[in-house]
Symmetry: C2
Subunit: 198 residues, 2 copies
Amino acid sequence: MPQTTEAKQKLREICRVAARVFYEKGYDGASMQDIAEAVGLTKAGLYHHVRSKDRLLFEIMNYGMDILDEAVLQKVKDIADPREKLRQSIIGHIDLIVRARDMEITVILHENRSLRGVLRKKINARKKAYIQYLEGLISQVQEQAGGKKFISPRLAAFATLGMINWLYQWYHQEGAVKQEELTQAYLDFFFRGLLGTA
Amino acid sequence: MPQTTEAKQKLREICRVAARVFYEKGYDGASMQDIAEAVGLTKAGLYHHVRSKDRLLFEIMNYGMDILDEAVLQKVKDIADPREKLRQSIIGHIDLIVRARDMEITVILHENRSLRGVLRKKINARKKAYIQYLEGLISQVQEQAGGKKFISPRLAAFATLGMINWLYQWYHQEGAVKQEELTQAYLDFFFRGLLGTA
């Protein structure tokens, strides 16, 4: 069904709160009752917005992919130069991961064992599209640099995804390494790894 | 208490089976009864080996760090050359992550939200020691290469950990990329990122 802006905002709010509850209690440990209480809805009210726990998990993951699109794809869509586009994509993706606000959502996005069937396929298709976007961009950057194919675009895409997505395991914005320093170091490391020069 | 070899072997078997059950049902979704059944013990028999579900999760994570030590530190301990030692450490760590046999254990090792208090501190201390080992080695490699400090050893250590530990999200041994190809590409990418040349 087509969603109104208001319904979409409400669903996003539910997703953010539910992500926190799942993060704290585990997907299997959290009940729809727990989530309804945390959102400030009755259980019936919650079911009005989202028809099952499975579906809620899917909506959280889908929201996670939406904010990835917003943090990366939307921001770089008008950049023509492949290298600058890749650079800004990495900057946007790092920013998303280290942003404390969305931490629970990005964590849940990558623990997708609980999702099954068609919903799992939908999320995996979105993840795959993002990887293919990175791969394509990396391939263009290699060509721009005179055809330097030190590494396959696919492996380079997964290497950078690993570096970035792993940040949630160890990086804290209040720690010794500032986000700007981290981002610059990772960008240089990535481009040296890809092309031999930063 | 000092463990006999037999008790240690039994505990490891319990850890492997329990990791699979936690992986399938979630930590909160799996009961000690589920785990006892999967191991082929009575609940009382299981409690004889491990005194609580918390403790069991700790034992699984501790086992995960043990096999990391075995796959990496034990294998490289007699290598004197820092660069070769780092190279072999990366090879060993990749091998551990892509080995299907221990997948559930390595996944659980990195989802350590469910562990609390002193047990969590113990696991984090082992993880920290491993990162410091990598940092130290990376620093030596930089000095050996004439003091090329393109990136801080700490950030380089986390970058490589991210690249490697993220493999469980996407890499399949039966897929198009063979382990040898993956390992070589990642080694070259890492050393280029670190030193500008592979």
